[in-house]
Amino acid sequence: MQELLVGIEAITWKQLIMFFIGGGLIYLAIAKEYEPTLLLPIGFGAILANVPFSGAITHGSEHGILSTLFEFGIATDLFPLLIFIAIGAMIDFTPLLQNPKMLLFGAAAQFGIFFTMCLAAFLGFTLKQSAAIGVIGAADGPTSIVVANRFAKELLPAITVAAYSYMSLVPIIQPPVIRLLTSRKERLIRMDNTGFRPVSRKTLILFPIMITLISSIIVPSAAALIGMLMFGNLLRESKVVDRLSRGAQNELANIVTLLLGICIASVMTADKFLNQTTLMIMGMGIIAFVFDTAGGVLFAKALNPFLKHKINPMVGACGISAFPMSGRVIYKMGLAEDPHNHLLMHAISCNVGGQLGSVIAGGLILALVH
């Protein structure tokens, strides 16, 4: 009888809080549908990992499934890179190819990464930890995981939860920041929807190869990230391996997402997760998203005096990765201001540029921080 009570007697208040946090993530996933494909497995995994003497995580020589999956899929960067193949196969880059100047917004809206990196350094984190925290602002889960795994393994759970939670909160985070930084007149700016030129199949096929070559030569540390993303896109655009393209978009994405979420939770144990550092990371994560949004909006405002065809500054906010959620948010905001102002194509092209920008930002940080 005593053996049956060992687990109950060993429960600590910190583990109870972790059960509550796991339950909260499951609630957000089911009731609010915030990034359910990741928050649901992470929430359940957090509960499983915090059961006293849990057989799901490794204790000494006794291996647990969650820890084994973590060592196999996260510590080696395997799962996030496989996710990139799936994302690449899902993304249609045509809007960006029709409107390449939008790529610059994909650069401007990475400002939050660097602001947050400096803030973290100011608050006393080491340079590598600061870089890993800053990359939450990439609004790109796999990039955040790769950088955190390389630079600050101890912060990986908090960074991952922050990155995915705030990505799901983009519709709540971005609109107030945009309204604060723009006048109604600016939000009513109409953009030309007739200038989109057709894109040839050759261009669509050459684009992923060209992006891989350029970025890998200039930023070799980004080769794996951008290479997997573009490989997925080449599968899609080649039109000769539809089975592989569909497999990447569906089976691969589903299986890896499922394993990714639950094994990240293996390191969300109370002793590692419940501390002041986690709270600080969650706080800095939201700052990163706010300053990303501000960077994109202010860049558009700065460009406008020099442009014949003005850019609606709201579109600049889509340079944050969070694809395609940010593009949809801005499209809806545009319609709310003026029911005849259709910004969708511009917003999506900017948003796709943000996806590339976030990967390049991650690669540059990996290259520059030693």
Partner: protein, 63 residues
């Protein structure tokens, strides 16, 4: 391209050198500046390449 790489490499070296110091703020500021500039350069090259590809392989207007 070689010149660009040389400039980026020299700036990168200069930026990462003080990373050994105790305070992380100074290197973080320098790295942030270089990285942000680097992103704009890379994205600018992407944009220029897309424009060139568009000229070389123009798409057909749908009938």
């Amino acid at each position: 391209m070689n010149m660009l790489l040389t400039i980026l490499a020299s700036v990168t070296d200069a930026a990462t050198q003080p990373a050994q110091d105790a305070s992380a703020l100074a290197p973080a500021l320098k790295i942030s500046g270089v990285a942000l500039l680097g992103i704009f350069v890379v994205m600018g090259i992407f944009a220029a390449s897309i424009v060139i590809m568009g000229r070389l392989f123009p798409g057909q207007q749908p009938e």
